[in-house]
């Protein structure tokens, strides 16, 4: 077996073991981020948020992710009548 083929084999083998974990961790992380988005935008969805005043300042920063988030949450369009991102 030539050296390059051995290398390819090694990479593939590593991939074979790691790929499932990578997917799982990536999903877990995305769930964390989604939960965080929910905390920040809770009030906009009608869920009372004890700290709206404080999370308000986070909203502009996270705005660029708002669209991805609401589509992933199963809402095709922005859930806000008066706040359209799409």
């Amino acid at each position: 077996m030539s050296a390059t083929r051995l290398d390819t084999f090694r990479v593939l083998l590593k991939e074979f073991y790691e790929a499932p974990y990578r997917g799982a961790i990536a999903r877990a992380k995305r769930d964390e981020d989604d939960l965080f988005m929910l905390f920040v935008y809770a009030e906009l969805l009608g869920i009372p948020n004890p700290a709206t005043y404080y999370t308000l300042e986070l909203q502009p920063i996270l705005l660029e992710r708002f669209h991805e988030w609401h589509t992933r949450m199963g809402l095709e369009h922005s859930p806000l009548d008066h706040f359209r991102c799409c």
Binding site: I25, R30, D34, F36, Y53, Y54, L56, E68, F83
Partner: protein, 352 residues
């Protein structure tokens, strides 16, 4: 007047001028109590006393219906106003605070979206100004900031608070809010941990994973969304934690409860003491204000009946608030107005 009912307050072991001295030696002093018992007057008298002893003092009114300016006969408003040497006063306007905060957020939001959406942002955020708690949160924010200036810009910061219920809420908020920001920060940390794990796996992030929220390095890149979110949350948390630390440290802060010798005032003060205890904040001393003392030269059937009743209530105060140092301020013949009158109240506070 019946001699047996007269409370010999001058020999009461708990009354010492040392109480007041130790109060104004601290960095932060909250003056609270039921509406109309004389909180503002007491706070103003203590501030005047401290200032005249050379301790630079900031007197802050958190009551939405401000009356500090009326006592000093001068406009104060939402900015630190020098009233006398070492004596500065401030009347917090929480509505103005909330509006400024929301205006800042609006401006930030507008930098992210197309100008045609500006009106949407305005509409959305104008609603936020009216959410329950927005002014309360704004007030807390300001109080926390001012508490941090105690010992730095001023030797002593005295808060003349709004009637009891409001104050209790204000003092409990730092605990609630820091728990809340902690929750948010924990979510961020968890997310960052997953990022690190991902980075450690070969290949790390790969194209086609289609998990767009992944592009988040653990050591937050400067200027990144993660870093900005984290910075804001941490700054908030620090503010709340400091406020709470100061509140709980009774070498730094003291809570002074003003009450009158009447039934409702005693009952409400009792609730305040209990509720504050629930948040680990203890009341340092009581001021029994507007007391018809034996030294006040007045008599007649009506006055005697009042005196007898007040003495009965004073006894009750001593039973209910056992162990709490207290001092008595006699009822004044005239309204307290201006520095001279406040000095008079101050000397009453110091009387043994």
């Amino acid at each position: 007047m019946s001699g047996t009912l007269a409370w010999d307050w001058s020999t009461h072991p708990l009354i010492t001028s040392g109480v007041v001295n130790s109060l104004i030696d601290r960095r932060i002093l909250f003056v609270g109590g039921k509406g109309g018992v004389g909180k503002t007057t007491t706070a103003a008298a203590l501030a005047t006393m401290a200032a005249e002893r050379g301790r630079s003092c900031l007197l802050v009114s958190t009551d939405p219906a401000h009356s500090l300016g009326d006592i000093f006969g001068q406009n104060i408003g939402d900015q630190e106003t020098l009233l006398a040497p070492d004596l500065t006063a401030l009347e917090i306007d929480p509505d103005y605070e909330a509006k400024t905060h929301i205006a800042t957020v609006k401006e930030q939001m507008k930098s992210f979206v197309h100008p045609r959406l500006y009106s949407e942002i305005d509409r959305q955020l104008n609603l936020a100004t009216h959410t329950p708690g927005a002014t309360e949160a704004a007030l807390l924010e300001r109080v926390a900031e001012l508490m941090a200036t105690a010992g730095v810009r001023y030797d002593l910061v005295i808060f003349d608070t709004a009637p009891s219920g409001h104050t209790v809420r204000l003092l409990s908020l730092p605990e609630v809010m820091s728990a809340w920001t902690d929750g948010l920060l924990k979510r961020r940390r968890q997310s960052a941990r997953f990022s690190t794990l991902l980075g450690n796996l070969t290949g790390g992030r790969q194209k086609g994973d289609d998990l767009s929220l992944l592009d988040t390095p653990t050591d937050y890149e400067s200027g990144s969304v993660e870093e900005r979110v984290n910075n804001l949350l941490t700054a908030r948390r620090r503010k709340f934690t400091t406020a709470r630390e100061y509140l709980l440290d009774n070498t730094i802060s003291a809570f002074l409860l003003v009450l009158n010798a009447d039934r409702l005032s005693i009952l409400e003060s009792q609730k305040v003491v209990e509720t504050l205890a629930g948040f680990d904040v203890s009341v340092s001393a009581l001021i029994v204000n507007r007391f018809l003392t034996d030294t006040i030269p007045a008599s007649g059937e009506f006055i005697d009946a009042r005196r007898a009743q007040q003495n009965k209530y004073l006894k009750q105060i001593d039973d209910v608030f056992r162990g709490l140092p207290r001092t008595i301020v006699p009822l004044q013949s005239h309204d307290v107005h201006g520095l001279e009158a406040l000095r008079g109240i101050g000397s009453e506070l110091l009387k043994p």
